[in-house]
Amino acid sequence: MPVQKFRSIEEMNKARPLNRDEANFERFLRHCAQWWAIAPKKYPRGVFKFRTIEEAQKAREKHNP
């Protein structure tokens, strides 16, 4: 991984990541796993139906107060 240098935090935040797609995806999976380990969730298993995306998001929040 090469070193990136920035003149400001703003410039750093705007910089595109240099990782390859696969590395990014692996990082995403590792990050999720760490989060799940720190804050385990308990879900009912199965299939649930929603009339809108908003309804689906509200249902999700019920399990993640």
Binding site: R16, N24, F25, C32, W36, F50, I53, N64
Partner: protein, 170 residues
């Protein structure tokens, strides 16, 4: 409906399970685009999530392919039959499937309000372990997220706009 509680976390197992699902989609020919946090992760904007958001082409054939792929991964799970074309093409464009194992669940979407249709969401193919994955582009994700009321989506939209130098279209 069967119910079970998540008790353990095994990174490798989750990773393998997710890849198994995505590989099964490819094998079955499911027409989908990965949107949401997983898609953002591909683009280097990493945040935790619990779900894989799948925008799928809204046809009965494609939904059958989806069921077939899920059956290949979660053999014997009778819940998969409840993912129906009647629902996804009718009154329930959002169906959530919590598989019998793993920590990620799947949000299957056939309509995204007025924001986008499957045909208009730009996607690019990413390859992981030889599996081709259809992922929404940063600008497509931005368009999906920027107008929503959910705070997380607004934060995602801001991150996408900044990182990829995106501008609002008129």
């Amino acid at each position: 409906m069967t119910r079970a509680l998540v008790t353990g976390y095994a990174t490798r197992m989750d990773r393998d399970e997710i890849m198994h699902v995505l590989r099964a989609f490819q094998t079955a020919g499911v027409e989908y685009v990965l949107i949401g946090a997983a898609a953002m992760g591909f683009h280097g904007l990493v945040r935790a999530t619990q779900d894989l958001d799948l925008f799928i082409r809204a046809t009965a054939e494609n939904i059958e392919r989806l069921r077939s792929a899920l059956r290949a991964v979660y053999q014997g799970d009778p819940q998969i039959s409840e993912i129906s074309s009647d629902d996804l093409l009718g009154d329930y464009p959002a169906v959530r499937y919590y598989p019998p194992s793993g920590d990620l669940y799947l949000d299957v979407l056939t309509r995204l309000g007025e924001v986008a249709s499957f045909e208009t969401v730009e996607a690019e193919i990413k390859e992981i372990d030889g599996t081709q994955i259809s992922v929404a582009t940063p600008s497509a994700l931005y368009r999906l997220k920027k107008g929503t009321v959910r705070l997380q989506d607004q934060a995602d939209a801001a991150a996408l706009r900044e990182r990829f130098h995106l501008e609002d279209e008129e």
